[in-house]
């Protein structure tokens, strides 16, 4: 609770600092503010006993929510680090931009801590509204406007589904509280009522939309492509993590006793998401579109963990989301600079990058290997863990589909590696990367390696 209050306050303070001419200090204020919030967040759990339900049982800061909130806060720090070079890119001044990021993650924190369906809706909306603005933050550019418009329309549609689904569930079970719903569903008469089934399916659709799962993924490539790259990076990592946490929390706390009907639905969504995401990614020439489809594919892998639906799966999702986010943030951090240099979105902008900036190229190569699941990087362990979860559930075919998809993904990830190391550069100039981005790259790189070698660092948190 303290975390959410502090975060909102930090957002307000940032907004107010925009009134004064202390621009230089804004970034340090926000970063240190976020770190302080993170510190209080991790320590408050033991000092103030907040773990119980709050606000008439509408939120509960249990271990799950603490872990995911922590991850979201840290990933946001990595994103915020890069905002300085981002300034010229948007028409929104830096303080307002940062405020939007902060309010967005306030929504994300609600999404990982709710125990009441209305809070879920509230969290998603808080997050989404900030994102609509962020996606359209390059006002003067058509593509950015298009992205914001598309995102808004589709998002509003999904919210409608969510609300309708929540209503139907309320109609069937008589409650918004996850625990109560779960108790009601134990009764077979309620569990099999068409109203409940329709309600669950509608909520499923809305959440599938938010995490970008097939067949509700159509918005992602366009929105990822049109948004400013830093916002894309934010959407692909922080927002996706929050969406997954909300997804998992809902089904884990409320629907774990439902008949296997939705399980099969999810199975099909999962297989389709992996396959379509990966196959479509092969044909992309634009880095951001490719990463959008690769993100869809990773959504598919993470859905495998949701299918398992137990306490162990929490570690799986947490680890996978971390590994995926670290690699994606590093890749986008480099790509932002390249984009500025060449005014190009295609993979060719990576041509000969290894000669121009060997360190950054190495980090990108390592990140791509991590995404492709090659040991000893974090992405490999994430896959290992998720595969073992699925095998434990006897989902053999799903794992085989996942393996074949992993191979396909190697192909398009390595296109960038081939471009960097084996293609001739378009010009001779070296590409310098600003210091903040270097910091981000080093952090992502080290974290990927350390987590790959010592996954216990994260797994043991969810004891």
């Amino acid at each position: 609770m303290t975390t959410i209050v502090l975060l909102s306050l930090l957002g307000l303070i940032t907004l107010i600092t925009g009134l004064f001419t202390i621009k230089r200090y804004i970034l340090p204020i926000v970063v240190s503010g976020l770190l302080v919030v993170f510190a209080i967040h991790t320590s408050s759990i033991s000092i103030i006993n907040e773990n119980g339900p709050m606000f008439n049982n509408m939120m509960k800061f249990d271990q799950f929510s603490i872990l995911f909130s922590g991850l979201i806060l840290l990933l946001t720090v990595l994103i915020v680090f890069q905002t300085q070079k981002f300034e010229g890119e948007t028409d929104i001044p830096l303080p307002e931009l940062l405020t939007l990021f902060l309010f967005a993650i306030t929504g994300a924190l609600i999404m990982v801590s709710y125990t009441h369906l209305v809070m879920l809706f509230l969290g998603i909306e808080t997050l989404s509204i900030c994102l609509y603005v962020l996606a359209g933050s390059r006002r003067s550019e058509l593509s950015s406007n298009e992205a914001a418009m598309k995102y808004f329309l589709m998002g509003a549609f999904a919210s409608g589904f969510l609300l309708f689904g929540i209503t139907l569930i309320y109609g069937a079970t008589g409650s918004f509280h996850l625990a109560m719903i779960s108790a009601q569903i134990q009764n077979p008469a309620i569990a099999n009522s068409p109203m409940l089934i329709a309600g669950i399916l509608m909520v499923l659709i809305a959440l599938a939309f938010k995490v970008g799962a097939v067949p509700f993924h159509f918005w992602t490539p366009d929105v990822y492509e049109g948004s400013p790259t830093l916002v894309t990076s934010f959407m692909a990592t922080v927002v996706k993590t929050a969406g997954f946490a909300a997804f998992f929390r809902l089904f884990f706390l409320a629907f774990s006793h439902t008949p296997p009907m939705w399980n099969q639905t999810l199975w099909v969504i999962c297989a389709l998401t992996m396959t379509l995401g990966n196959i479509t990614a092969i044909y992309q020439n634009q880095v951001k579109r490719m990463m959008a489809y690769s993100g869809i594919a990773h959504t598919g892998y993470m859905l495998m963990a949701i299918l398992a639906l137990n306490q162990v799966a929490v570690s799986g999702i947490l680890f996978y989301a971390t590994a995926y986010a670290l690699a994606t943030i590093a890749l986008f951090a480099v790509f932002i600079t390249l984009q500025k240099n060449y005014k190009l979105d295609s993979i060719e902008s990576f041509n000969g990058f290894a000669k121009k900036n060997p360190f950054a190229a190495f980090v990108v190569a390592a990140s791509l290997c991590s995404l492709a699941g090659i040991p000893p990087l974090a992405g490999f362990f994430g896959k290992f863990y998720i595969f073992s979860l699925a095998l434990k559930q006897q989902n053999f075919w799903l794992v085989i589909i996942a393996i074949i998809n992993s191979c396909i993904s190697v192909y398009y990830y390595f296109r960038i590696i081939v471009a960097m190391y084996m293609k001739k550069a378009m010009d001779e100039q070296t590409i310098e990367i600003d210091r903040m981005s270097y910091l981000v790259l080093i952090i992502c790189m080290l974290a990927s390696l350390v987590l790959g070698l010592f996954p216990d660092l994260i797994l043991s948190l969810n004891a």
Binding site: P375, I403, V418, M422, L459, S460
Partner: protein, 481 residues
């Protein structure tokens, strides 16, 4: 301690590259690999030839999943470690006369690969095994893709994706076994004790077989191999054929034989037939190759086919023969690639019809080439004979007809090898210039070491066999239960 040293020394010592220039890189790399060789030999002397895993180190690693860091060596691992440590310095020596662009990275990748290979042979649990299996793959991909021939980009990517597909199936098999093991560990020893139903064993057999068959490669999973061998720079081809291929064979010995006896009963026959087809197929295609490197690549398919046939027979002769032949093939194929590289460097071509009369100009090279080639066609008193004789005996016990067909492979082998030798070494030289630089110090050393060890194994194989025999018998015992 000694295992940890062998495992990580190449990697840690390669940090020296940070402080050196490109021009010294090859000398540093050679120094590191020679120290590694010395330590491996020391380990072999210290090794007590019984079936136990020795020099073991076992520490907790990922506690939440019960995965430990467990390395050590039994006789089979030891021989593979020796082979790796012996071949890497020779591979580095073979590159001495050539200046690679960005040499530091080149030699770093070779040493990283050595680390991965040693890791594969030293791991005592499946998780580590898998990690090192992939760690060995990344450097060879970059070696081939950065320093290779014209078509390298597509060819290496195909190779990479092909092998990754195989290894992912293996990963699934590992995870499945891990979930089945009563204590939820990944140690080999505990996995050996799992009792699995016949149908499960069949599925696992194929998951493993795909991974190893692609790596070796066995017909019909070989399509990546000739292109990759031909496109890779020579040290890369040597690493691939001399050592990396042995990872596949080693995997069969380590996992399929002891863990899946019922799967072997059902499918071992298929594997042997595929291997035997590979022998004939590889030999026939090798006969009509014009490019020396491709010829060796196809001959390698034939040889590895025989090795895998010998091992899948699951009897003592076949298995020990396979193990000795792994050493022999490693030495011979590295030697052959070496000779081809020498010829290419001096004459500028690898096409057989454009060559001839080299023996006259460089008798020393002709003698080395002769020994290596005879080792490769398994003449008595060379290393190839011991291995192939044992394997054919094993195969004959299993099925005389298959042994007969496999024997054809040896005859074909003699045909194309002798033909190659005759047309490159004798006859008239079609080359305009009669100049042929004599062997340098580095080349002489490497070729001498290779030829000497080929003869050593051929004359007194017991030096190596007695190290591996207890471990091989132990594996067969596990398989019989």
């Amino acid at each position: 301690m000694i295992t940890i040293f062998i495992l990580f020394f190449p990697l840690l010592a390669s940090l020296l590259f940070l402080f050196s220039g490109n021009e010294n890189a090859k000398k540093i790399a050679l120094g590191i690999s020679v120290i590694e060789l010395a330590v491996s030999i020391f380990a072999a002397i210290q090794f007590i030839p019984d079936s136990n895993v020795q020099f073991a180190l076992h520490v907790d690693w990922i506690r939440t999943l019960g995965i430990s860091f467990h390395v050590g060596m039994d006789g089979i691992s030891l021989l593979m470690v020796l082979l790796t440590s012996f071949l890497v310095p020779i591979i580095i020596l073979s590159s001495f006369s050539k200046e690679y662009a960005n040499a530091k990275s080149f030699y770093f990748l070779i040493l990283l690969m050595e680390c991965g290979l040693q890791g594969v042979f030293l791991s005592q649990n499946t998780f580590l095994f898998y990690i090192f299996w992939e760690v060995a793959l990344i450097p060879i991909y970059f070696i081939a893709a950065l320093w290779g021939g014209d078509k390298r980009i597509q060819v290496t990517l195909k190779f990479f994706i092909y092998t990754i597909l195989g290894s992912l199936f293996m990963l699934i098999a590992f995870i499945y076994l891990y979930l089945q093991s009563p204590t939820q560990t990944m140690d080999f020893q505990s996995l050996y004790q799992i009792a699995l139903s016949r149908s499960t064993q069949g599925i696992l057999f194929w998951a493993f077989f795909l991974a190893f068959a692609i790596k070796m490669p066995i017909f019909p999973f070989h399509t990546w191999q000739p292109d990759t061998y031909a496109e890779a720079p020579t040290p890369g081809s040597m690493l691939l054929s001399g050592i990396m291929l042995k990872m596949g064979v080693y995997g069969v010995i380590r996992f399929i034989l002891p863990m899946l006896p019922l799967g072997m009963e059902d499918w071992g026959n298929t594997a042997i037939v595929l291997s035997v087809i590979g022998i004939v197929y590889g030999s026939l295609i090798a006969m009509v190759q014009k490019d020396l490197k491709r010829l060796i690549a196809y001959s390698s398919i034939a040889h590895v086919g025989l090795i895998s046939a010998g091992i899948f027979t699951l009897n003592a002769q076949g298995l020990t023969g396979g193990i000795i032949q792994m050493l022999s093939h490693g030495l011979c194929v590295v030697g052959l690639f070496f000779v081809v590289d020498l010829i290419k460097k001096r004459t500028g071509t690898r096409i057989i019809t454009e060559l001839g009369g080299i023996a006259e100009k460089s008798p020393a090279l002709a003698i080395y080439f002769m020994i290596i080639m005879l080792g490769s066609i398994a003449l008595p008193l060379t290393s190839g004979f011991i291995g192939e004789y044992l394997m054919l005996t094993g195969l004959y016990e299993y099925n005389p007809y298959l042994a007969g067909i496999a024997g054809l492979g040896i005859i074909f082998g003699a045909v194309y090898m002798l033909n190659m030798y005759k047309r490159t070494m004798y006859g008239l030289s079609p080359l305009q210039s009669s100049e042929f630089k004599s062997l340098s110090m580095a080349e002489n050393t490497a070729l001498f070491a290779l030829s000497a060890s080929i003869l050593w194994i051929g004359i007194y194989p017991e030096t190596f066999l007695h190290l591996a025999r207890p471990a091989a018998n132990h594996l067969l015992e596990i398989a019989k239960h």
